[in-house]
Amino acid sequence: MSSEDCTNRIPILEGIRNQGKTWEVLAPRYGVTNENPPWKTSLVAMCSCLGTSEALPALDIRESEDELADSVYCSVPAPERQLLALAHTMLDRGLVTETELADRMTQIRSRLEAV
């Protein structure tokens, strides 16, 4: 079980992580008592769906998640850790590229902020 955290960092995910805007920090600041962010069930659903996909069979996700959770993302609280680990695994396997991800995030943010 590797505890090295100097390899295999993905810049776009590091950027997100380093902002530190986890639910654990934000919820108390805004007085919200829900234990989990609203996207948590969507993340769980994604992991269930991917559990049936050939690209990322369930035990594989779990192993990747474990390795990443114990190393690169060990200081991130759940569920952000799980989300980062999933994104990281998908990027690592070339299921998604960093550029695609960055572009899509920009689009989504403008969509959400326009409301």
Binding site: M1, S3, K21, T22, W23, R62, A69, R109
Partner: protein, 243 residues
């Protein structure tokens, strides 16, 4: 988190508080999901169905099952002989949302009965399989490698960290759910609950009691174990060498 109404004040109507910013985590989740769908990893419909299922589950089902087993001997016998059938009777259907269960919960539930001399605790060392239809989403500590590795090797130590210390005469049985069976603990009904209704009993059957890291008590309605680092985490040198 209830809305407060102050009609006699000139202030705005106060809604429930929300986190009023769009975090990159929120955006990342949507991005990953949309790209996964576009790349054909799953369909939007599948995702929607699983999201609805994830939102529908919670530990209340498990609490009801235990409370009913405590008060109804015939139901208890059914729980031990055919747990998924017993679940249907309290409104939990393990075949949701696909008709065949989910790809990690399946449909093979076994409820483990505690006795005064036998205490069960559940784990999944390989991943973190958990009886989600009955207990909802697994707690974060259950998913950590720290819990999963140490509860099989040093169960009494790990339980002590949760505040649960049992005499040596009590057999502690760790159930590692490494295949398709899913497990839940049926704890011993505690003293001091004579004459209680099912609703009252369900209130003291918390998630931690059904995992086996806590015992139900008449005055205990909340799982309050601290979110803490293990006393002897994996990799620590203060303990014996691992394995």
């Amino acid at each position: 988190m209830s809305a407060s109404h102050h009609h006699d004040h000139p202030h705005e109507h106060k809604a429930a508080p929300t986190v009023d910013e769009i975090t990159d985590f929120e955006v990342l989740e949507i991005a990953v999901r949309e790209l996964a769908i576009e790349h054909g990893l799953f369909t939007a419909e599948e995702h929607r169905r699983f999201t609805e299922w994830a939102e529908s589950i919670g530990p209340a089902g498990g609490s009801r099952l235990v409370a009913k087993a405590w008060t109804d001997p015939e139901f208890k016998a059914l729980v031990l002989e055919n747990a998924t059938e017993a679940c249907k009777q309290i409104g939990v259907d393990w075949s949701e949302p696909t008709g065949f269960g989910t790809p990690s919960d399946y449909t093979h539930l076994i409820v483990l009965e505690d006795t005064p001399t036998l205490h069960h605790v559940i784990v999944c060392t390989l991943c973190s399989c958990y009886p989600r239809p009955l207990l909802g989403m697994s707690p974060e500590w259950y998913r950590t490698t720290n819990y999963r590795r140490r509860i099989v090797r040093w169960p009494r130590q790990v339980l002590a960290e949760f505040g649960l210390i049992l005499p040596e005469e009590v057999e502690i049985r760790v159930e590692d759910s490494n295949q398709k069976c899913r497990f839940m603990v049926l704890p011993v009904r505690p003293e001091g609950t004579g004459g209680w209704s099912e609703e009252q009993l369900a209130e003291i059957v918390t998630r931690d009691c059904m995992i086996g890291v806590a015992l139900p008590k008449p005055d205990r309605k909340v799982d309050t174990h601290p979110v803490r680092k293990a006393l002897r985490p994996v990799g620590s040198t203060s303990q014996e060498s691992s394995k």
